[in-house]
Structures are given as C-alpha cells and as structure tokens.
Symmetry: C2
Subunit: 692 residues, 2 copies
C-alpha cells in the first residue's frame, strides 16, 4: 500500500521570510514504478473520451499526465470529499482545451463527479464533462478555462486572495498554494504579461505555474510565430524559473520542490512531448485538437502497455489514485480542529459567507441623509460616497483600479493598499492592466472570502471584455466600476468616449449593467450589485456632475424599497393626459425631466421612466412592464449611446435619441449640444411625431 | 543657418545583412545650443494649449520634447509638404494622451495643419487638435492613439508593411523606418507583449521605440504597480535595447544611431523627467494629466527662459524648425525621380491604389460557377474558396490567423508565409495574439499598399475588440475573418460560443458585420468588404456546413447585382397571402426557409428575408426597407445569438428567436435542437401569435 512517507518537516515560506508549520499536510511520495501506470490512466481516459466524442484535445492531457500525477500525488493539498474546503490548494487548468486532464484527475482521485459515465459522455449534452472545464458544472474545477491566458490570470487573483486572508487570519486557517498548468497559448496571449507582472510585483510565492513546454501550437511548431526566451521574460518580471523533463518523475519532483521553496512565484518549464504515448502522432500539431483515430489509439495502448478496456481503470491503479487525496483529507480534519479552536472562528466564518445581508444596513443611513440633504455630484463621486460606508462595514470588499484611482473614485479610507509587504490591505494598484485586473478579480471572487470591485474607464471595458464575460459565465459577484461613461467625458475625444459600450455590455448574459441617474440611484445600484453573488455588475458612471433627482419618499430607505431593483420605474408621472413616456438612463434622465416639463407646459402629458438596469426591468412581470411602458403612448428613449436595442422598449414607431457615430473632442456641454442632447433638439421631434 | 552637415554615407541594414544606400536622406545635425530652444518651443506650446483648454496632459510632451527634437531634426525622414509620400518614415505617438507633442511638431515643422489657431483651440469642438491624435483629422498623424499600447502595436504592422513592400519593390522605392514614442502604459498593457513578440520574431529592425522612461503613471510612481525589468523583457523577446539620458542631446543622438544600426527592433529607454521645465511639479504624477495652472506656467517660463507670449514662437526658433523637413523634402524629390525611372512604377502605383475595381472581376467567374454547380460547405470554407481567386488577383491582400489557420481557412495558395527570412510572403502566422494581430492589421492598412485580413474565432473578437473599434474609427478597410460564429461550433462549449458577439459588433459605428447564409452570399460579402476602403468588415462564418440557397439569377454575377449589397433582401417570396416575414442571418436562413415552407403548407404566406449585413440594410431608402419588412405582417427574426437589437426590425409585437443565455457543450445539431432552433419549435410560436 502507498503510504505518506515523508516525515513532518518545517519549511520556509520565503515570501514572508518566516517559518511555516507544514505538518498539517504530508503528501504521498510514490516511487516512479507506481506513478507510471497512474499517469497512463490519464492518457487512456483522455484518448478514449476524445475518441468517443470524436472531438477534443488529446495532446495536452497525454503530454502533461506525468507532471499532473506528481502534482496530485505529491504536492496538491485537496480533499475529494470536500471540494469547497476553504484551505485547499487551488488547481487551475489554464490550458482548458486539455479538459480531459482535469476530468481524469477528478474521477481518479475520487471526487463525487465526474463519474465514468460522465466521462463517456464527454462533450455531449448534459455531461458535466464539457468541452472546456466549467466551474459551475463540477466541484474541483476552480474556474472556467478555455479562453487562453485567463486561467493563469485568475490564479493570480486566487493567490492574492490567499495571501490577503492569510494576512488577516494567519497560517492556522489560511495556508495554501495555487497551482496552474498552462500551455504556450496561455503564455503568448497579452494577458499573460499583465498577470505575471502583477504576480511578480506582489511577490506571490505560493503561485506555481507548470508550463507545458511542448513547442507545438495548433498552426505548427511554436517557432512559426515566436522567438521569445520565455524563461528570461519571466525572470525579468520577478519570477523564479526552473525546468524539468516532464516525463521524468524524479526530475518533476525536484522542480516542484524547488518551486515551492522559492519566495517568488515560480514558472516550471516542463519539457514534454505533446500526445506522449501516441507513437505516430506525438510531438506534432496533429495530436493537438483532434481525436487520434482508432488505429493510433490501438498503437498508443500498445506503446503504453495499457490493456484495459476503454473507460476501465484497473483496480490496483484506481486504488493508488484514490489514496492521493488521503493526506489532504487528513489535513482538512486537522484544519477543522484548528478552526473550531480558533478565536477567529466567527470572523473567518463570516468572511467566507455571502455579504448580502450586510449591504442594506450599511448604506441605509447614508441614503436617508441624501434624501434630506440633496447633493449634486458626478455618479463616479456618488460611487465613492456609497463605497465609504460599504467598505467600512463589509471587510470582504477589496477595491482597486487600473491606474485611474483618482478618476474612478474607487479608493476609500477603509481600503489601504495591498502590497507585497502587507497583504492585509484591501486596495490593489493594478497598474495599466485592465484585462489582468478583471481576471484577477474573477480569481479572488472564485477563491471566496473576497468580493472584488475594480475601476477603469468604461471605454476600456473593451480591453477586458472577455474577462467580464467570464465573470458572468462563472457566476461571480464581481463589480466593475466603469467611469467616464459617455461623451460626457468631454475633451479626451472619441477614443475615450464609450458610445456602444453600455448597450454592448447589456448583451452579455447574466451581467447586470447599471447606469444610475443620480447620487441616490448610484447607492441603490451599489446595493443591488452587492446582493447578486452569482451575477456580476457593471456600474456605468459619469465624469460630470448630475443633480439629485430622487429623495422624496427615500427618507426611510431600505433594500426593500430600493426603487432601482425594478430596473426601470416611473420617476415622474404625467399631470396632463399622458401621450408620451420618456425613458432614459444615467445622465440623460435629467434631460428627460426637462423635456417632460416642456411637453407638460404645452399640455402634453409625459411620464419619465428612469431605467438604471435594463436587465432587471426585463425580468419584471409583464403587467408591470406594460404599465411603465404602455403601448398607447409614444415611447421615447434618451441615452447618450447606441440606439440599436432601444427598440425593445420604443418599438418600430417610437423615437430613439442616441449616438450612432463616434464622439468628438470638446468640453462635455458642447458635445451634448452638438449631438442633439438638448430639450431644444428633442422636444420638436416628439411634437412632430405626435402630429404625424 | 542650419544645414544638413553629415556627408553621404553607407549604412548597414543588419536585419537583412546587406548594404543600403543612405544618400537619399541626409538629415540635419544641429548643435545642442540650437536644439534646446527648439525643444522648449514644444514645451511652451504644450503647456499653453493645455492651460487654454484647462484639460490635457502636459507632462509627456514636456518630458519628451528633447528626444522628439533630436528625432525630428536628425533622424525622421518626412516631407511636411507631402504627408502622404509613400516612402516617408512613420512616426507614431503611442502615448497619445501627450497629443500636444505631435501637434507642436507638425506645426513647428510646417505641415499645412495644424495652424497656431488650431492649437489655440486644442480640445475644442472643431479643432483638428483633438484630445488624442486622430488620423482622420490631421495629415502627419499616422494613426489614432490613446487606447494604450495600440500605437506601438500598429507601428509593428507598419514596419511589417514596409519590409513586405521593400521585399517586393526594393530599396529604391521602399526604404523607411517606423519610429514610436511610447509611455509606461504602452509597455504595461498586455498588447505590448503580443506586439513586441511579433516584432522580435519577424526581426523588424527598422522599428525603433523611444520609451518615455519617466517612472510615473497616473496613480503615482510606476513601482506602485510594477517591478518589472523592462529592458530584460525586451531583450528576451528578441529586441535590441539601449538607453539614454532623455535630456542630453548628444546622448539621445548616440542612442538613436545605435538603434538604427542594430538589426533587431530597438527599444531606447529615454530616462526623462515628466513635465520637465515646470519646476515645482516636474517628476510627479501631478503633471501627468492636468493643466499646470497659471503660477506654474509662469514658473516654467522662467525656468525655460521662455519670454514669448503664449502661442508665439520666436521667428529664429521657428525658422530652425522649418528647416527640419528640408532633408526629407529633398529625399522625396530624389525618390520621385527613381520612381519615374523605375520599371516597377506601374506595379508600385497600382499597389498603393485602392483595390475596389479589381474585386468584382476577380470573383465573378467563381460565383457564376457556383450558380451553376451548387455547393454545400461551411461558410468558413466558402470564405477560403472566395479568397482563392481574390488573393490570386489582388496582390495587396495579406492574410493571416491567430494560430487557427486550418480552422479559419484563411490561407490560400497565393499567400505564402511572411517570415524574417522572406518578407515577400503574404501570410502572417500571428501566433496566439488576437489583439496584436488586429492592431498590426490596422498598422498595415494605414501604411498603405496592403489590405490585410486575419482570422480567429468570433468569440475572440472580445480579445481584440478595441482594435476592431480603432479599425472603424480610423476608417481602415481591414477585414476580420471570424469563424465558428454561434453555438454551431458545438462541443467546445460556452467559452467558445459567441452568443452576444454578432449583435455587439453591429453596435460599433462604421463597421460592417456580415453573416452570410451560404457559399454565394459569402463571396458577395467578401466582394463588399473589399470595396469599402474606409469601413472595416467582420465576416461571421460557420464551422458547420450550410446548403447553397442562392444561384438562380446569379449566373451572370457582377458587383452591380450583388444582392448582399442591400444588406437584407427577400430571398423567398410568399406564395399564399403574406402574413409573416421571417428575417434571418447566416446559418439560420436555411431554418427560416423550412419554417416558411411549413407555414405555406398551412396556407399562410411567408416571406424569407436574408439579412447578411444589417448596417447596409439600415442604409437603404425607407421605401425599400418598408417593402422588405412591411408593417402589416408579423415579423419574425431568427439568429442564433442575442435577441436584443432585433426589435429594430420586428418591433414590440414581433417574435425574436435567439439565445439570451450562454451556450453549452454538445454536438451542434443537439444544441440547435436544445436551444429551439427547429421548425418544430418555431412554427407553433408563429401560429400562436397569428391566432392571438
């Protein structure tokens, strides 16, 4: 029987330069003769599953099987019976196309899922073994990967979360590592530069990246498109780099030990043969993303000495694999005992719990004050004001900005800098790294214990768009603070003026896009954003000042009467017979009010509907929506952005006031006039339509 | 008087290892005493303009004024009287927020614009001196910059274009350099990694990047967020690196000479003081993005010894500046003589001219054949088929893919690889660098003489979205070949299935988004994409096979009867009395036809409208649109993507068949059934609505 064989030992966590108790976790140490068939089990399952699906990527799992086997048996701290144990090591398969690697590992080590039938149904409808690993389908899949580079970048966020919580709660409760398997694509994508720059700067020594250095991409050899000295680049960015023969168990073991010992984040270049075991195709791009075919599978079985039927793992090999999680299970037990005995148990438990119930009470008094003492401020400033009480009351909130702190207004007195010298801070200077920031926030949210928010200009949502999408797909509660939300940013001009961005973000499923109209709506939107832990939010905020439009009836505010929760609501009711409903968002609600005043002055009844969140409005009952946007009135939309999409509310016969061209460089008030955002320009259009 | 003082000389172009004739261009060489007031003229104009606008970034122009002065007087080959001279050096201000630097330089060296009044109106409506430099507002602004990192990445494309055209036309006609001024932000953004990786791999020795190494970002010192050894990183990526004191003219000169001499692309780290000259604010983030204020401007004038009134340049300094373009003007004259004498004159002239007239004839025969011999192929394959005759006939077409050549079907027999050993090839293996690819394509298009197209999966339009936006803003004719355009990609699952992308790209102004329904529409869309040189295109193409729906009437095809040119057209006309119009795109047009068949079988007249390009349809006369989508019929849209936006055509009472959630992993046909894309699911909805 395999047994944990290493004695208790004391290791050195160089990143902090202090001694760490490692007796909590004593992994197995198996001889190579035992490891080889275990690794081949991964190869067999991977090629069989890809073959059955006639779709998928066998090359990576087969190439990295040996490295993964050493990692899972000798280093990774995990408890298959408790995949959500807070102090587990995180394992990220950044090269998500090699998904059969992680499915194999989860099955072999005895997670409740996937079952062998799930693996048989790889890439078929309903199987949790999807084409790429999805965090919402399988425990043990820490994050959704496939969009290249983002797994590693999310791992950076997880490693940040670990260091932060460690700084707050100590080694007894938080003391784990983050492990990544990444491919050439993950290293070639631009986000890699941002992610490793952040990790190097923050000295995330507990982050270890195992690079599948197989020198093959889909188009062919990596030297078709790259001449980079990757190791030198990582060293230049503050990383420790080592390498190993990815098919020599002892050498892999040495490299992982070295990675753990170094105080810097580590890159382990694992020299591998893609598709190792498939004798005629290994080492070529032909094995990257296509099934091997029956003949080659047969040849591979011969090469590997694998005689079991497809999807069958010999019992002695499976038994060895099932032992791999035992050390972690024991460590989990010890950890649970320490938690029970800890004076920080209550705080730690709250830290890891949802924050929803904290939000309303944290902010109610602030809104009460606003109701009584109106404020004219930019909504970016209103956001900062709301963040004051929120960050004071909710320790999970960790803020930051991609080098626009003073513009995004994301920093509060409660959020001190998180640095390599003091990870306990709750504010991250992300640098000019929007994509890296967004992915790191996803990682922190997925780690648990942290609710991240981060700022940039709304236009630069383009730079991190796929990470926002992954926030939504992965069902995280990340909050994006996107300021300078229209031509209202003024002089910086069209490169910096989001025209299409608000609408284009609304298109992303499971993402709430908020565009509040004043200081109270901004607070309400923050309150909503922090109470949807499975739906990320984008707050689109102005650079320019906006008058307070709300207040009457908000004096005894609570989440229960958060008017923004309906997504859109009647802010002003027609006094004359209603003929027009003007629906607007953000900075244009004030303009809608002015237009309505002018119409009413001419005896034309006009409602104004503020719609801070179209997604929440769409989710209201039909009767509510029909009441707010009746079919017997002319519906007019005003939003300083794309009109496409507004027809959902205005129909083919309504009026859509917006901008369908790029903006221009000028002071904001000149631009609003130039692009027709004045009552003088809009009211006549409404009158013409009514008279048509 | 300043005079060109260097003798003719013979330099060595190490990238190719051969001798280059340099006598064509002999720049000035002025002593530092003459250069200093010239540099201070930039400082004065920059601080005055920012002060007048009370908006802008004075720090960068003041910090880089000395470097820019050496570059423009001693190295840059340009003719202010002919900004579009094909063989000029390209100068890119990648740190576009420092726009007053380039406006100052263009004014001082005597370009027709900007005038001093334009500079007075910096950042005001109508001034060509916009907040960030816009290529469509000023000659001499080679590309629009501001979105950080992209200027440098576009410069890579320009340098590729230069080497390609040099390989084809020789040193006599194409022999210029690309110069970049970049800031810390340009180097920190992820796209930097992609861009310099491509440049290093392709050994673009004529690309020189002058890095404004001022160690300040908006949030503060660069070490707040970065610990990277930038020089080591560039060296690791195949670059030559040198450095200089950015305020020592002789040292700058030495570094630029060194950069020109090295066969690799060069990074020159110019150690500067941000805002140099403003005695109390220089060297701090306070001078980065805000006006200095009257007192500090006065102090700066004192420090610089600058006594002229605001916006006035003393005549002797202006006279020196006006000489800077003389060597380039002379070189331009010599070049024109060589062109006139060249046997390649005709070819070169065609190469640099618009390609529109070549397109129809290149592809007409191919479409004729299809009309007579229908083909069932995926539209990505149809794209490859169309590219065959197009790339054979049009030498300007340069293709590529971000490591998905075999999936995007972007390579043809006419497009051989472009490599460091042979730049004459017309196919770029961009590597796993979507953003870098898109920016490089923008650079190639802006350089002229090349019409670039490049492929990736449609989902990864997210990774390069802001570069697509810059294609549109800059009015380039770049073509994006985006395959695997819906859940039809199947097994790869939701991370790889574009749901919101087609609609979200439609939101970008001046971008044509094509989603052809069959092999003929695909060819038509290509023909359209290549005849809009000021509007970029995205072709959204299927992975899966589609039947040919067109052909009758297409036998004598020409651009004049390109039916896709109307954006949407009646593909099938109701035979019974029309009650329904089904409008669909791409792979769903086939389904629309089936639904129409079933409706007609029940006596319900149904048109089918194919809408390969909504933007072109929107641009049609109202009468045409009303005829195609009449208000007295039920309008039904079918597109395997977001429904939001389709209400423009279907109104509040139509039916929108689409997907407003993420996809799933399964074979394509299972997914289409699962998500309701079958006649069995759709026809009853139509009947219910008609009977409601």
């Amino acid at each position: 029987m395999a047994r944990p064989s290493e004695p208790s030992r004391v290791g050195r966590d160089g990143a902090r330069g202090r001694l760490l108790k490692q007796e909590n976790f004593v992994p197995m140490s198996l001889e190579p003769a035992r490891l080889q068939p275990m690794a081949n089990a991964i190869r067999a399952l991977s090629m069989d599953a890809v073959e059955a699906a006639n779709s998928g990527h066998p090359g990576m799992p087969m190439g990295m099987a040996d490295v993964a086997t050493v990692l899972f048996t000798g280093h990774l701290k995990f408890d298959p019976t408790a995949p959500d144990w807070a102090d587990r090591d995180r394992f990220i398969l950044s090269a998500g196309h090699g998904s059969m690697l992680i499915y194999s590992l989860l099955y072999l080590t005895g997670y409740a899922a996937p079952t062998i039938d799930d693996i048989r149904n790889f890439r078929k409808l309903g199987s949790p073994c999807a084409g790429h690993p999805e965090n919402f389908l399988l425990d043990g899949v820490e994050c959704t990967t496939g969009p290249l580079g983002q797994g590693l970048a999310m791992a950076v966020g997880m490693a940040m979360a670990e260091r932060h919580l460690n700084a707050v709660y100590g080694d007894d409760l938080v003391d784990h590592r983050t492990w990544v398997i990444a491919g050439d694509g993950c290293l070639m994508e631009g986000i890699n530069h941002e992610a490793i720059g952040l990790a190097g700067h923050l000295k995330l020594g507990r982050l270890n990246v195992l690079w599948d250095d197989n020198r093959i991409t889909i188009d062919g050899a990596t030297d078709l498109s790259s001449s980079e000295d990757i190791k030198a680049r990582y060293i230049a960015t503050g990383w420790h780099v080592t390498e190993c023969d990815g098919h020599d168990f002892a050498d892999i073991e040495r490299a992982l030990q070295e990675a753990k010992a170094d105080p810097r984040p580590s890159l382990v270049a694992c020299r591998t043969l893609i598709g190792k075991g498939a004798p005629n195709k290994q080492g070529t791009s032909g094995v990257h993303g296509a099934a091997l075919g029956g003949a080659e599978v047969a040849a591979a079985r011969e090469t590997l000495g694998w005689t079991a039927e497809p999807f069958v793992i010999p019992s002695e090999i499976l038994a060895d694999w099932r032992l791999a999680g035992e050390p972690g299970r024991a460590a989990h037990g010890a950890w649970a005992g320490r938690l029970e005995a800890s004076e920080k148990k209550g705080d730690f438990t709250s830290q890891m719990a949802p924050i929803g119930s904290l939000v309303g009470p944290a902010i109610a008094g602030y809104i009460d004050d606003l109701a009584r003492n109106p404020k004219t401020v930019a909504t970016r400033k209103a956001s900062e004001m709301a963040l004051g009480p929120l960050t004071a009351a909710i320790p999970q909130l960790v803020g930051g900005s991609a080098d626009l702190t003073g513009s995004n207004n994301t920093k509060t007195p409660s959020t001190l800098p998180m640095t390599a010298e003091d990870y306990s801070g709750r504010y991250v200077y992300y640098g000019i790294r929007e994509f890296g920031m967004a992915a790191a926030m996803n990682g922190m949210a997925l780690h648990g214990g942290i609710v991240p928010y981060g700022g940039t200009f709304l236009i630069f949502s383009d730079y991190c768009r796929n990470a926002i999408r992954l926030s939504a797909l992965q069902q995280t509660g990340v909050v994006y603070v996107m300021t300078h939300d229209s031509i209202g940013l003024g002089e910086d001009g069209p490169t910096h003026q989001p025209v299409e961005h608000v609408m284009s973000l609304r298109l992303i499923p499971n993402l709430n896009v908020y565009r509040p109209a004043d200081v109270i709506e901004t607070a309400e939107c923050w309150a909503l954003a922090l109470t949807t832990p499975e739906t990320p939010s984008v707050l689109c905020l102005t650079r320019q000042n906006l008058p307070q439009l709300r207040g009457k009836g908000d004096e005894n505010w609570s989440q229960a009467n958060n008017r923004s929760a309906q997504g859109g609501y009647r802010l002003r009711e027609a006094t004359a017979a209603r003929k027009v409903v003007i629906v607007a968002t953000g900075s244009e609600v004030e303009l809608a009010m002015t237009c309505a005043d002018e119409l009413e002055a001419q005896g034309i009844g006009a409602d104004v509907v503020s719609m801070p969140c179209a997604e929440l409005f769409d989710a209201q009952p039909e009767a509510y929506k029909a009441d707010v946007l009746p079919t017997d009135a002319l519906i007019v939309s005003i939003e300083a952005g794309s009109t496409l999409g507004w027809e959902r509310y205005t129909g083919r016969s309504g009026i859509n006031i917006g901008i369908d061209t790029f903006g221009a460089s000028a002071p904001a008030e000149d631009l609003f006039a130039h692009f027709g955002f004045t009552a003088e320009a809009i009211v006549p259009q409404i009158l013409n339509k009514l008279n048509a």
